[in-house]
Amino acid sequence: MTKISKNSTVDSTNTNSALSTTEKVSLSLKKRHRKEKRFKRIGLFSVLFGFLLVVTLIGDITSKALPAFHQHWVKLEVNYQASWLNIDESTAQSLSAKQMKTANYRNVLKKSLYQMFPEVSGRKDKRQLAKLFSSNAEFTLKDNLIAAPLLFDKQTQIWVRLDDDVDSYLKEEFPLGEAGLRISQKQAQWVAQLIASERIESRFNFSFFTASDSREPELAGIKGALMGTILTMFVTLLLSFPLGVAGALYLEEFAPKNRFTDFIEININNLAAVPSIVFGLLGLAVIINLFGLPRSAPLVGGIVLTLMTLPTIIIASRAAIKAVPPSIREAALGLGASKMQVTFSHVLPQAMPGIITGAIIGVAQALGETAPLLMIGMVAFIVDVPTSIVDSATVLPVQIFLWADSPERAFLAKTSAAILVLLSLLMVINLSATMLRSKFEKK
């Protein structure tokens, strides 16, 4: 305050009536500092809000995904009675493989169930009882008998999957014996009986990683989509890496400054901003309809994603090539190397870490891409695991899209789990890119 009063005496001549500038400033200081604080706080809140969004997103998906990683199984008393299997007693001594394959296992399952629940009568109840178990249960019985033919005509205990409705019902922990979700009162009581006799067990869901897509949520897995992703990414990397590096080398090292070069550069920059779905239209109209490549194939998906990621890779590669010191080029040129030799044996190896980082980022981008693949038909329901790049296939993001659309409750968890797998794949890829970059920067 003393400082201000001293100042005010200096120019007091013209501030008799009004306040001096300095006084005005000093009076407004408090307000200004308050404003400053508020502004800073808003900034901090924005950053924290960003964090909150990340945490909410990941947390929400993780919490939804967890139920998908385990699954309820039930131990059934199964009787492989010859008459139930529809196999003639007389031929039972020399059971042929064909007989075992074509026997009536559904009947065995049903009859065994009725034996376990003798009180169940009436068609409607019986049907309700059968609905508790996965539609895959009869095949489990079949595989069991084929693996152990000695069980023929004998009673045994076999673990089968519960139906997804029961599975969801158990995971949401409804009070025992009470109806919930799509489980009726009667079904709930049977489930309670099974639990009381310690026949139900929760196991890790391996089949989520080893099975392909299925209409039955309890059987659906991501193996097919994962294979499709790997094949598609293989094609993408195989095409986009050499093309991108070659294009970048030309533009950085050889291209004369002329209109053609400018035109290429404008094109690359614009392509980087074209919406991905437009690349899907290109794939559909040109690659599938004009060139006649097969629909839904990883080959076409890979080509479309290559065109999409090429700008990213070219831009990153150019930056890496530009960062190679000119002294290296000049030294090699001075020793008599040709321009091409300089480029391929000196510039390219030096720029490689940066180029690979760029390629990894490009592939990460392609890995999460969905929209263009919908256009080229990679959205079909495909049960077989694809084995070649011209098989019909789907990829992980599209599988997520398909499952997210399914009405069954159990698919909600499956979708979230597939998202977790996709996100962890992306994390591994991005981490490797970051590590490569930091290693490169230290040099």
Binding site: L57, G247, A248, I277, F291, V379
Partner: protein, 472 residues
């Protein structure tokens, strides 16, 4: 031989010709001890031979493969009886599909027998056609194999005959490599041309049946064309205004979230945050940019939309289950890191002297930011926002999963709207004939999308370029 086997044979042949070229050049020089007399290194001779062996043959293989199916199909059609040839193109397509299925599932002898046994004339021709197809395919395959291998061998032979002590193998191979590099960089041009051709041609087809004026200014969007003449509700009107309005609404909501938050994050991280916080916050926010859009779509449809609906209903509002608000907010979340990183670049590009001058005049940090840095960085920030808008307009998966299909013309964010990208996806997924106005409409929408995003990008670039140099 099928194409992939042929490809690997060609690869082997190429590797062999590398070795062959090296050996031939040494022979020309008169043994390994005289190799210094050659103008180029033996490896360069080898490289040239390998490229001359592989490239023309590979190009032939690619061209042959892309033309093969069409030619075989034409030949097959010409052998069919006249009554089938006179069918419409769709029916011929179906007929050919049948034949393809037969030809790939049955053996040749079965097909011959089939055509002999069957008394039905129609079935008989089918069997015969399938047999012809198999034969044609076989002939094409033989022709392909022979052509590719002959081209590879002939070009190598012609080349190695020219080898001499003064043969400039290095210069020749380098000019081939340069041509390859040019070709690779031209892929970008080809892609652009491909995009323009694919959307433009199909759009022109579309505008033949629907007038551009109706498309651009019509307010009714119901692309379901009638299967029968008397069908109800199958009017098939293609007025795209509701789609544009829906896209704008969702983009606007997204920007309303992303621009202030993104900008404040950029300001805070560049002006206030400690180095430690920056090092933590930037990768953390980058996560948002790296999450696939399908994940955002899932989040919007299954988490955000129900929350908004429950909240709205508790206030007594009627909220659609697929509200524009949910899609817009989640899209905004996706765009936050995009806006913040581009704005931060723009802010840090402002010369330090401006900032220091402002501090020197006694301005507080926030005053410096608001009155000096932001105006100076404005072109960059506007450019960033324009790019973000273009990104939001072209975004597909979030709106496909979280916005509706109903083409409502509304400005109410709680209502369900549809967007251009949603309609492209709905019109093109599933099996349809390719030339109905319904599928062609998707390409017309694609054209609009391409033009809009391209225009926004060019505009953003212009804004940045025009005002950037002011302070340099």
């Amino acid at each position: 031989m099928n194409s992939s086997l042929l490809f690997f044979v060609l690869l082997g042949l190429t590797l062999f010709s590398y070795w062959f070229g090296v050996q031939r050049s040494l022979k020309v020089a008169g043994g390994a001890e005289h190799k210094k007399e050659l103008t180029s290194l033996p490896q360069q001779f080898g490289l040239l031979t390998a490229m001359v062996c592989g490239l023309p043959a590979l190009i032939t293989l690619l061209i042959f493969n892309s033309a093969e199916q069409i030619i075989v199909e034409q030949l097959l059609i010409s052998t069919l009886p006249a009554n089938i040839q006179s069918l419409s193109s769709v029916d011929i397509g179906l007929y050919l599909n049948n034949i393809h299925a037969m030809a790939s599932s049955e053996s040749a002898t079965n097909l011959l027998q089939g055509s002999g046994i069957s008394s039905d004339n129609y079935v008989q021709t089918q069997y015969q056609a399938a047999f012809t197809l198999q034969e044609l395919n076989q002939q094409a395959s033989w022709l392909k194999t022979a052509l590719v291998l002959i081209i590879a061998c002939v070009s190598v032979t012609v080349l190695v005959r020219k080898f001499s002590l003064t043969y400039q193998a290095r210069q020749k191979s380098e000019s081939i490599i340069l041509a390859l590099l040019v070709a690779s960089s031209a892929v970008a041009i080809l892609t652009t041309i491909g995009i323009i051709i694919s959307v433009l041609f199909e759009s022109i087809h579309f505008f033949k049946s629907v007038s551009p004026v109706e498309f651009m200014f019509g307010t009714q969007w119901s692309p379901q064309t009638a299967m029968r003449v008397d069908q109800v509700g199958g009017s098939g009107s293609f007025g795209a205004i509701p789609l544009f309005a829906g896209t704008m609404l969702i983009t606007f909501i997204a920007m309303l979230l992303a621009v202030p938050v993104g900008l404040m994050i950029a300001i805070y991280l560049s002006q206030y945050a400690s180095a430690k916080l920056r090092a933590f916050a930037k990768p953390m926010l980058e996560i948002l940019a790296g999450i696939p859009t399908v994940v955002y779509g899932f989040f919007a449809a299954l988490t955000v939309a129900p929350v908004i609906r429950n909240f709205g209903e508790s206030l007594g509002l009627s909220v659609a289950s697929e509200s524009a608000l949910a899609a817009g907010l989640v899209m905004g979340t996706m765009i936050i890191p995009f806006v913040s990183s581009l704005s931060e670049d723009a802010i840090s590009a402002v010369p330090n002297s401006l900032k220091e001058a402002s501090f020197g005049m006694g301005a507080t940090k926030s005053e410096t930011v608001l009155k000096v840095l932001l105006p100076a960085a404005l072109p960059g920030i506007v450019g960033a926002i324009l790019l973000a808008v273009s990104r939001a307009i072209g975004e597909t998966m979030i709106v496909v999963m979280a916005a509706g299909m109903a083409a409502n013309l509304t400005a109410n964010p709680l209502d369900s709207v549809t967007t251009v990208t949603v309609q492209i996806v709905t019109l093109l997924t599933g099996d349809q004939e390719f030339d109905s106005p319904k599928t062609l409409a998707a390409f017309a929408l694609g054209l609009m999308l391409f033009i809009t995003t391209l225009g926004l990008n060019v505009l953003a670039l212009k804004v940045v370029r025009k005002y950037r140099e002011q302070y340099d």
